[in-house]
Structures are given as structure tokens and as C-alpha cells.
């Protein structure tokens, strides 16, 4: 008994001195954990490309700032399961001294891992996941939602399509939290802009054959069929809509699509579709320069998720340098104080609910004959200013937002 008391006291004393003596950066290493989908349905839009983007951010920072401390990157596959994500996050924080976790591609993994980060007082920078829950009901002060969310993509695309005259809508919705959230956000936008929602059909996730659901959408007579799903569900829906002669009589609106989906389907099947993204590699010289470097390493052009990760990790590393510390609260305060200006975002900033606010872009997919070189897929139709792109704070359900 006596022995343990002494041991505890000694340990406590040791940890005290360690805390004060450390040169602010704990054990002189800043460790970044990339928790992403390395093998499943979203491994093209995030996956190894996400890990590559983070490594690029670290290398660029090291080359420019020559920090006195080491920066390490570790990666793991969360298999799109919440329990795996939270176990891995816990293991990283407790055992491997990881300071920050990034990406998290599905809503379930993001919600699980950000909760662990909060418990352990570490930072979570989310890029791949889509749900607005991350910055609403489940928000916390150590999490930043960086790239996009269901509100932003639904808002951009639905508004544009309604303005083009697509007034009546029918939704084809993946039957889980993400799909329902996307459908709800888009329905609100359609109604607010004078359109009408005629109905919706929920399909099991993941699905292969969508023809039955598409026939229902066809029978509804709606001008626009909104695809509130993602990945292969979306690509299969688009392909089969063409087969059944639904397009071009009725038009499709992909509410969450990535450039890798367009690449997979080809321009013939997707031409003319509207979609909203946070990033397009071919937008300007800055995005081109970075994307070409990325392409040389990964052999594919970056998705917005991958580009957003580079931006998020760079911003984090700058905050570590500015504060000379990897203390969560100090770094987070610095991140929130500084504007984000890089190839990904101009004058971006982090709100109190954890939303990184920046411009979004409404794209239209090019016709095959308009595409001049590989990955030349979009016309940027409109820049959606940061102030309009994301859910206004007045509608926030986040407890951190003072009203």
C-alpha cells in the first residue's frame, strides 16, 4: 500500500516536471493520423489519395519552415464503421501519441471519432464526411468540418436547377442517415426557391439495380430526379436512367458527386449535369499547379476531399508553428483566429460551430466534344460566395453557438 502511494506520488511529480519542461511540443513530435476509407466504396474519393495529400502538406511545410520538431503521418482504414473508427482513434491518442486525426469519410465514422477526440482533448479535422450533424447536434470545440457538407452541396445544386426551370422534383434516396439528410436539405432548398417535391423513394444501401426505383421516379412525372445517394449508387442510377430512356426527358441532379464519379461514368453519360463541389483542379493556375503535383504522385486528379485535407493539415501545422505548441486548445484558438488562404480556400475561416466556411462552386459537366485533355470535365458556372454556401448560424442547432 505504502509502496503504491509513493509510486503514485513519484509518477505525479514526474509528470508535472515533464509537463512544464517540455519544449511545448510534446515529445518533440507532431503526429497526424489519417483515418480514412482505404478499401471500401469511398476509397477512390479519399483513400490512399487522402494519405498522399496529407503527406504533401507535411513535406511542403517541412521544406518551407524547417521546424525543429519531427512531423509524422500514420494512416488506418476505418472500413466505414463507427466502432472501428472510435477504437482506432482511441488507440492512436492513448498509445501512439497522435495529436490530430483527419479525414473520416462517412458520417458514422466522423461522429464516432470526433467524440473520442473530444474526450481525449485532441483535434479532429473532418474532410470526407458529409452530414451537417457534425456542426449541429453533435458539434464540439475540437472538431473542424473542412471541405463540404450536405447543406452546401444540396443548396448549390438544387437552387441552380430550380432556377433553370426544374420546378418539380422526385428524390431517389439512399436509405440511411446520410441519404435522408441530403434529401431533407435539398427538399428545403427546392421549396424555398418556388419548386415542388412530388415524392421520393428510398432504396437499400448499397444497391445494384435501380431500375425499379427509376420507374417510380418516371411515373411521378417530375422534371428533375434528385439523386440523394453517393458513390456507386449514384453512378449506377445515372447509367440505368439512360438505359430506360428516362434521361434526357427528365433530368437528373446528382446531389453529392465527386470528380472520380464523373471519371468513372464518362462524359457521354453525365454531360450537362449540375453538381456542387468545393474544389476543381482546373479552376485557376494555383489549383492546377498543386493538382499536377498531386497527379504525379497519385496518377489521378484530386477530389475536393483530398484537396481539402491538404488545406486543413497545412492550416493546422501553421497554427502549431505560430503558437510553438501542440496543445489542443492553444492550437485550435490559433486556427480559428487565422484566415485560411491557400489554393483551396480564399479568406476561409472557422466558425464557432466548427464549420470551415469558404466559397463553393456550381459546376456543369462538359459535353464530350468540349473536353480537350484528360480530366477536363467541368465548366465552373457560378461561384457560390462563402456567406451563402453554408447553413447560416441562425439555423444552427450547435450548443456552442450563442444566440
Amino acid at each position: 500500500m505504502k509502496k503504491t502511494t509513493i509510486a503514485t506520488a513519484l509518477a505525479a511529480a514526474l509528470s508535472l516536471t515533464a509537463g512544464s519542461a517540455a519544449a511545448q511540443i510534446s515529445d518533440n513530435i507532431v503526429k497526424i493520423g489519417v483515418l480514412t476509407d482505404l478499401s471500401g466504396a469511398y476509397s477512390d474519393l479519399a483513400g490512399t489519395g487522402a494519405v498522399e495529400a496529407v503527406k504533401m502538406a507535411v513535406e511542403d511545410f517541412k521544406a518551407k519552415e524547417k521546424p525543429a520538431y519531427a512531423i509524422e503521418v500514420v494512416a488506418a482504414d476505418h472500413q466505414n464503421k463507427g466502432d472501428i473508427a472510435s477504437n482506432k482513434a482511441r488507440e492512436w491518442f492513448d498509445r501512439d501519441k497522435v495529436d490530430v486525426i483527419t479525414d473520416m469519410v462517412t458520417t458514422s465514422t466522423a461522429l464516432a471519432a470526433m467524440k473520442v477526440a473530444k474526450d481525449k482533448n485532441k483535434i479532429a479535422l473532418i474532410s470526407g464526411a458529409a452530414s451537417t450533424r457534425i456542426t449541429n447536434e453533435d458539434c464540439n470545440d475540437v472538431t473542424v468540418h473542412w471541405t463540404y457538407d450536405t447543406y452546401a452541396v444540396a443548396n448549390g445544386t438544387a437552387k441552380a436547377v430550380v432556377k433553370q426551370g426544374g420546378k418539380s422534383w422526385f428524390f431517389l434516396t439512399a436509405d440511411y442517415a446520410f441519404g435522408q439528410s441530403l434529401e431533407k436539405d435539398a427538399s428545403d432548398v427546392v421549396a424555398a426557391n418556388g419548386g415542388k417535391v412530388l415524392g421520393s423513394v428510398r432504396h437499400p444501401f448499397p444497391g445494384t439495380d435501380f431500375s425499379s426505383f427509376l420507374l417510380k421516379a418516371q411515373a411521378s412525372g417530375a422534371q428533375v430526379i434528385g439523386l440523394a445517394n453517393a458513390g456507386t449508387d449514384t453512378t449506377n442510377s445515372i447509367k440505368q436512367a439512360a438505359e430506360f430512356g428516362i434521361t434526357p426527358k427528365q433530368s437528373l441532379a446528382g446531389l453529392l458527386m465527386f470528380i472520380t464519379d464523373i471519371h468513372s461514368l464518362g462524359l457521354k453519360a453525365t454531360q450537362g449535369m449540375y453538381l456542387t463541389e468545393a474544389f476543381y483542379w482546373d479552376a485557376n493556375d494555383e489549383t492546377r499547379a498543386w493538382s499536377k503535383r498531386f497527379f504525379d504522385r497519385h496518377k489521378r486528379m484530386p477530389t475536393m476531399v483530398q484537396a481539402g485535407l491538404y488545406s486543413a493539415v497545412s492550416h493546422y501545422l501553421k497554427a502549431v508553428k505560430a503558437t510553438g505548441s501542440d496543445d489542443t486548445q492553444k492550437v485550435m484558438a490559433a486556427m480559428k483566429k487565422t484566415k485560411i488562404n491557400d489554393f483551396f480556400a480564399k479568406n476561409g475561416y472557422i466558425r464557432e460551430d466548427g464549420r470551415m466556411v469558404h466559397d463553393m462552386y456550381l459546376m456543369q459537366v462538359k459535353k464530350p466534344e468540349e473536353s480537350k485533355y484528360p480530366w477536363d470535365y467541368y465548366n465552373v458556372r457560378q461561384t457560390i460566395p462563402a456567406a451563402e454556401a453554408f447553413q447560416p448560424l441562425s439555423l444552427s442547432k450547435c450548443s456552442l453557438v450563442k444566440k
Binding site: Y42, S43, D44, S211, T232, Q240, T260, S264
Partner: protein
């Protein structure tokens, strides 16, 4: 317009037709599984991966070597079949005397490896395969526009299924096969090369999966995960039909496709689970499956 339970009869007929299309895929895949299980006593978990491989080979043939869809229908099943025979000779043949579990584990492992290789090479977003020009367009059936390609799927799979059933149940070669399953030692004693027959059977069974893969390529995206999405349902079909029953697996495949189609009309959220509900009900009443015989 006439309605049944609030659904216009035209919509219902349309959905039945689509159910039949999906049922055709179930039938072809479960038929291959049933043939393999019947003859080899192997629960072939690699079936979905080989189906995916069939679709990929069709895509690769077209993209790299300009092999048209028609030729792919012929060549790909042969290629997949040969690949299967190599697996049978080098790995499976050592497992026949052991418990089913060993075959299941081995083929499951193979499925993971094959899928992993394709995923590593081609990513998961999928690759496009155009419908051949001859089969584009649609038939107006009055109640729906049935794309010609879907009609072709039903026709081709029914033809292949019936030919298989005929070959196994009505020909001399089929009789040898059935004899070899029933009593391999005695059949061997009559001078029939049983190991050769077993090898050919496995090759044929997975060749059917390859054929289904080529049929699927233009209808769905060619995707490394396409097999694993389907294989569980197909196993349920085999269990419902009765393990090893040829006719059973064909009829059950088509029937369940239709039931699934109807579920999509009335309560689409349950369409992925209805097959398993049916499976539970069937197992409660007839543990050997609808067409299976108790041993």
C-alpha cells in the same frame, strides 16, 4: 386505370418484368453454385469474385484488345472456366474429404484476394461498359418500355439455365456426372475418369459465373465490389431452393427476383431483406429447401 392495392396494374407489370431480369442473374449464379455443391461438395464462396472477374475480362477485352461483346460472351466464360479448373486442380481437390468448412474458407480467401487485386488496380468507382449497338433501344410492351438489353438478359440466361438442366438431367454425360456424385468409387470402377469430371464440373460452374458477369457488364458499372454485393443474396437463393438442386435453383432464382421486385413496389426499404425473410420461413417449414431432398 385498374389498380391492385393502390398500385396501377401497369406499374406492377413493369416491376414484375424487372424482377424477372434480376431473377435471371440470381438463377444463373445460384445454378453454378448448385452444380458445384452437388458434384464437389464445395460451398464456392469465390463465385461472386469470379462473376466480377467475368465482367472485368469483358471490359478489358473491349478496352485493350477490341474484343466485341458477342465474342466476350463466348470467350470470357471459357477463360474464367479455365481459371477455375486451375484452382480446382491446385487447391480444391485436396479438400473434398474434409469438412465443408475448409472449402468455404479457402474459396472465401480466394474471393478476397481476387477482389483485392482488382480493387488495387482499378479502384472502386467502377468502369463504364457500353451496351452493344445491336441491343440499344427499347421494346414498347404497352405497360412499360423494356430496354432491349434487359430482354436479352432474360432470354440468354433462361437459355443457358435450361441447357444446363438438360445437359445434367437428360444426357449420358450428365448421367455419368450424377453417378460420380452419388458413388465416386463405383463410378471409377466402371472406367469413368471421375477426377476429370469433377474438374470439368467446377470449370463449368464458374464459367456460368463468368457468363453472368459479361451479361452484367453493360447493365451495371463494372466494379470490383459487384460480386460481393450479390453473393449473399445468391447463397440465400441456393438455400431456399435446396442445396444442390439444379431445377430448384433456377426456379427459386427467378421467383425471388420477382418477389424482390414486388417488394420494391409496396415497401422499397425492405427489398434487400425480403429474400432473407423468405429464407427463414422456408427453412422453418422445409429445412432441406423447397426442392431439396432430406438425406
Amino acid at each position: 386505370m385498374t389498380e391492385i392495392f393502390g398500385v396501377p396494374i401497369q406499374a406492377l407489370l413493369g416491376q414484375l418484368m424487372l424482377g424477372l431480369v434480376n431473377g435471371s442473374f440470381y438463377a444463373m449464379l445460384s445454378l453454378g453454385l448448385a452444380v458445384i455443391f452437388g458434384m464437389l461438395n464445395i460451398i464456392n464462396f469465390a463465385h461472386g469474385a469470379l462473376y466480377m472477374m467475368g465482367a472485368f475480362l469483358a471490359w478489358m477485352g473491349l478496352t485493350y484488345w477490341g474484343i466485341s461483346y458477342g465474342w466476350a460472351l463466348l470467350l470470357v466464360p471459357i477463360a474464367v472456366g479455365v481459371f477455375g479448373m486451375v484452382i480446382e486442380r491446385t487447391m480444391l481437390q485436396w479438400l473434398y474429404k474434409l469438412d465443408h468448412l475448409y472449402g468455404l474458407l479457402l474459396t472465401f480467401g480466394l474471393a478476397l484476394i481476387i477482389e483485392g487485386l482488382f480493387r488495387d488496380q482499378y479502384g472502386v468507382s467502377g468502369l463504364p461498359y457500353e451496351i452493344p449497338d445491336l441491343l440499344t433501344g427499347a421494346f414498347n410492351l404497352g405497360f412499360m418500355f423494356l430496354p432491349k438489353y434487359r430482354a436479352w438478359v432474360i432470354f440468354a440466361s433462361l437459355a443457358v439455365c435450361l441447357a444446363t438442366w438438360f445437359g445434367i438431367e437428360k444426357t449420358r454425360l450428365g448421367a455419368y456426372l450424377r453417378a460420380a456424385t452419388e458413388n465416386p468409387k463405383l463410378t471409377q470402377a466402371f472406367g469413368i475418369n471421375v477426377p476429370l469430371m469433377v474438374m470439368l464440373t467446377y470449370g463449368f460452374g464458374v464459367g456460368l459465373a463468368g457468363f453472368a458477369g459479361v451479361l452484367a457488364a453493360p447493365a451495371f458499372q463494372v466494379n470490383p465490389l459487384m460480386g460481393s454485393h450479390l453473393i449473399i443474396v445468391v447463397f440465400a437463393v441456393v438455400v431456399i431452393g435446396g442445396m444442390g438442386s439444379i431445377l430448384g435453383s433456377i426456379l427459386t432464382g427467378l421467383g425471388l427476383g420477382v418477389i424482390e421486385g414486388l417488394t420494391k413496389v409496396f415497401y422499397s426499404e425492405a427489398s434487400s431483406t425480403v429474400v432473407f425473410v423468405v429464407m427463414v420461413l422456408v427453412l422453418l417449414v422445409r429445412p432441406a429447401g423447397l426442392f431439396g431432398r432430406e438425406k
